[in-house]
Amino acid sequence: MTILEIEGLTKDFGGLRALDKVDLAVQPGEIFGLIGTNGSGKTTMLNIVTGFLKSTEGHISYKGELITGFGPHQVAQRGVARTFQLTSLFPALTVEENVISARHLNSHSGVLRAFFLTKAYHKEELRSRQKAMDILKFVRLQEKSGMIAQNLPAAEQRILEVAIALAVKPELLLLDEPVSGMNLQETARVMELIRLIQQTGTTIVIIEHNMKVITELCSIIAVLDHGVKIAEGTPEEIINNKEVISVYLGKRRVGNVES
């Protein structure tokens, strides 16, 4: 059963058709790539899937359930998490607090317990911090847990974003340009992280412009251009696809070099 099914997705912004009857199916456990020129509708599609925008037409099913029109928090409650194109954190909070806040759905510290400072409250708080640190260890940010989020270097802010998304315990993770602005080392670190996440059984959809990342990580890639899906297939098929080349990749292509 597909984990994410998008049917006939169409989005109009007034006179501008950002998405035109796009169909997509993501299988559980795979890493699915979504590429295309800027303005091709990738982030718009992500925003619709995660409930930040309403589609004009079309349906979205998650694990067989229709989630069209759901709000962001409802989508998250079902186990779908995302990152944002422009780094999005809780800026004034510490790294640890960022993750603890993101664990909202899995936390049980009610106000009454907090008021009376019951044993259950303390136990829950300890558990919360422990789980948050586990996530930070997974993404290798545990040493900076006390740092204020906005003071982190840019690349680590992106990684913290992923940690925040992981706190939702998602079965489906949607990453919007996770390595944008990163150098080779940082990119490799994130790629490793994405592989580790896949190994835990999470399905991942990546929007990216970095072709090395896309071709090395993804088993399937879909290509959008001006809101229309123009190709879908394995990395091999995509980089050799004539239309994809002319629209996005450019004529000069040598192996896996980033265009």
Partner: protein
């Protein structure tokens, strides 16, 4: 261990408890009561401003609703004052919930400020014009004082500023504790997350609307409780209580005192009740000076007076320690 961690608040509480013994005249004691009342009210507004990160220009309306509710129930129905306070909380909470539910759907920021201003103004007009209920301009007079009637103990009436001070101090302490409890709960964290980044908070499963409405309701219910305590102290409730001048004063207490902190609004209340009193002697210049003080505070301490004092203290203690370590032969602390 617990004592050490909470040393500062405990010391402050101890000082607060003995204050009426230091200031023995009626006038000073009256000011102390007012400070406690406005401190608690400012804290309730800070839930919206400091923790939700929104502005409500109608918050004073809940103060009024609480005062009128309790006053009416005890005057017209002869209810015990304590029940009147409970009713005030419920009434403020329900009306706050309704207003929050309707206003917080889509409006945020400046639009919300305007909406809440409108709502507050309407409630103000109601208090002025619903003559049969509120007695209009003249207001309600002869509001009874709270009476403590526990069987077996002598009957005690909270009439004097001295006794009432401890009552409102208890309410202030309760408010501080309640807010700190909320902050360390899942609810409080969600509200802070929404303030920091509403989009991100939604994406991790936080229902923005629900939590905004809940926080707004809590703030309103608290404000109503404080209003009820005020009403039974001054024993007169008039529409003036809901006026914009008090609302702005409240806003200034929160923002200049230090929003998003527990001490800030309390400090703000103390300063902006005491300073106008001290400036009385300057007659006409009073308002000009007061305005000047607001400006100076906001320009030089945009985060508020309390945060400014905290960072000053941190820098002072750091340089103090450096100095001490030099004097002590280079050993660092």
């Amino acid at each position: 261990m617990w004592m050490k961690k909470h040393l500062a608040p405990l010391v402050i509480l101890a000082v607060a408890i003995i204050l009426p013994f230091i200031f023995r005249d009626a006038y000073s004691r009256q000011l102390l009561v007012l400070i406690c009342v406005y401190a608690a009210l400012a804290l309730s507004l800070d839930i919206i401003i400091g923790y939700m990160g929104q502005i409500s220009l109608g918050h004073i309306a809940f103060f009024g609703i609480g005062a009128y509710t309790s006053a009416l129930l005890s005057l017209k129905l002869g209810m015990p004052v304590w029940l009147g306070w409970l009713a005030a909380i419920v009434c403020g909470g329900i009306i706050g919930y309704i207003i929050g539910y309707v206003s917080l759907r889509r409006t945020r920021g400046v639009s919300l400020a305007i909406v809440t201003f409108g709502v507050g103004f309407v409630i103000y007009l109601v208090s002025q014009n619903w003559y049969q209920l509120t007695n209009g301009f003249e207001g309600l007079i002869g509001i009874p004082s709270p009476v403590l009637a526990i069987p077996g103990l002598p009957r005690f009436t909270f009439e004097s500023s001295f006794s009432y001070y401890y009552l409102v101090l208890a309410i202030l302490v309760f408010t501080v504790y309640l807010i700190s409890a909320v902050l360390r709960s899942r609810f409080g964290r969600a509200v802070v997350a929404l303030r920091e980044n509403e989009e991100l908070a939604s994406s991790v499963g936080i229902n923005a609307f629900n939590y905004y409405v809940l926080a707004f309701t809590l703030a309103s219910a608290l404000a109503a409780l404080v209003g009820a305590t005020y009403g039974h102290y001054v024993r007169i409730v008039t529409p003036r209580l809901l006026g914009m001048d008090y609302m702005l004063m409240l806003l200034i207490m929160v923002v200049v005192g230090g929003k998003g902190t527990l001490a800030g609004p309390i400090l703000g209340a103390a300063i902006f009740i005491l300073v106008p009193e001290w400036l009385r002697m300057t007659a006409q210049l009073r308002l000009v000076l007061l305005g000047g003080i607001f400006l100076v505070c906001i320009i030089f301490m945009p985060q508020g007076i309390y945060p400014a004092l905290v960072s000053l203290f941190k820098r002072a203690s750091l340089s103090g320690r450096l100095w001490l370590s030099k004097v002590g032969g280079g050993k660092t602390f």
